[in-house]
Each structure stands twice: as C-alpha cells, then as structure tokens.
Symmetry: C2
DNA sequence: CAGGCGTAGTACGACAGACGTAGTACGACA
DNA sequence: TGTCGTACTACGTCTGTCGTACTACGCCTG
C-alpha cells in the first residue's frame, strides 16, 4: 500500500487542521483522530507535528486556545481547545485557492 | 495573483525534475526554464533548490551526471548534464502514484 | 490490585529541504 | 565598457517534521 509521505503533505497540515476547526472548536487528540478517519487511515499526523502546528498557528493568530472541561458533567479534568479566528478563516480560504492552482501545476509533471 | 508556496510543492521538486529528464537528459539552467514554462510562470524553482536537488538525487542514484560541450561545434565550454537512471524512473512512477493518493486525501480537507 | 490501554498532552534535540545572499566566469551585444 | 544572459557554486539560516521519551489520569481485565 502506498503511503503519503509527510514531505508531500507538509504544506497542508495547517490547512487540514483549519478545515476541521471551521466546523467547530476542537482539541489535539480529537483532531488527530479526525484527520485519520477523514483520510481513511491514509494519513496519520504525528503528535509532535500536530502540537507544534498549534503553537505556530496561535502565534500567527490563525487560532485561539481556551480550556474547557473534558466532560460536561464537569469533573476537574481540562482540555485545551482551539478555535479558528477570522484571520484563520481567511488564511484557510487562500490556502484552498492555492491548492487548486498547485494541483493543476503539479499535474503537468505527473504521468498516469 | 496567487503564488505557489514552496512548502506545498516541496515534496514534488524532485518529481518535476525527473519528469523533464524522462524525456531526455538535460542540465540545470534548461530544466529551470522548462519548469517555469510548463507551469506558465506559476512556479519558478530557485537555483539553490535545483542544484541541491541534483546533488541529493545523484547520491540516491536517481540521476547520473556527465559533462558535454555547450555547442555541438564544440568550443571548449562544458555543461553538466543529468540523465535519469532506472532507479530514478522507478522512483518517478511511485511518486506519480503517491500523488494521486495525496491529491485525493488533501481534497477532502479543501472547500471550493 | 497490578498492569496495560486509551486519552491528552509536553519537552528536546536532530535533520532535511528550501532559501537568501553572494560570488565566479564567459560570451554577446550595444 | 558595462550590462545581460548563461551556467553554475558556496555557505549559512530557517522552518517544519520527526524520533524519542516522559507525565498523568481513568477504565478495564485477569
């Protein structure tokens, strides 16, 4: 089975994360599971890659973090959630446009 | 105008170069011009990126270098040409397959 | 009741590939 | 004479990914 190498997807980790956050705020572990399932197990993001993406994107102002209880019934456990900002949405949309262009260009160098 | 960022195309520089070398042996400057024109000026590979790709790919055994005269009439000037090897062809084909998969996966995270 | 698994991360250093900057060298052409 | 196009090379920096390792809590099972 062919695997997706991270160098290929490198430019799109942030975009994938943002795509998930466009629907609703979420947190690391959940996002990682979603990427895995949306891609049919074809792409599994590494923990370190994911969490360093959060730090980077928060610095850039594309996401915001907040903590919330793990259970609604609220035992003390907290999780770090992330929410996409307006700047993040803007960035996500530009990345989508960029993708269409990139896809078209790369395709010219691919033989089927 | 949207520009293709290098992180996106990162995993495909080698593939693009190999695509050009699949047709015939070529050399740095010429390959750079071809990438530029095939992509309609949308992707311009940096010199340093290109030449370091040659070194890397030669080490991996995907390409071979040889020198040849710049003009067929042969004044002393030489150029370094590169030729794709069998291993390089194999690698190129696998990258093309990988691309199809990657494209499909990334697309699931893109909104149009 | 001990140990493993799932959940939910953090810390740290290594590495590869792309990039910025700069410099070389030669010929054509104005 | 100087600039443009051709055809590179050298060197150091930066960014993002990855390997490894460690913490901590709760649940389940033997």
């Amino acid at each position: 089975m062919i695997e997706i190498s991270s160098d290929v997807i490198r430019g799109y980790n942030d975009t994938m994360i943002l795509n998930i956050l466009m629907k609703e705020p979420s947190y690391g572990y959940e996002i990682s599971k979603q990427i895995r399932s949306i891609s049919d197990e074809k792409y599994i993001i590494k923990e370190t890659t994911l969490y360093s993406a959060f730090t980077r994107m928060e610095k850039k102002g594309h996401i915001e973090s907040f903590t919330a209880d793990q259970d609604p019934d609220g035992n003390g456990k907290k999780r770090t959630y992330y929410r996409i900002t307006d700047a993040g949405k803007e960035y996500y949309r530009s990345k989508c446009e960029e993708w269409d262009l990139t896809k078209e260009v790369v395709e010219r160098f691919i033989e089927h």
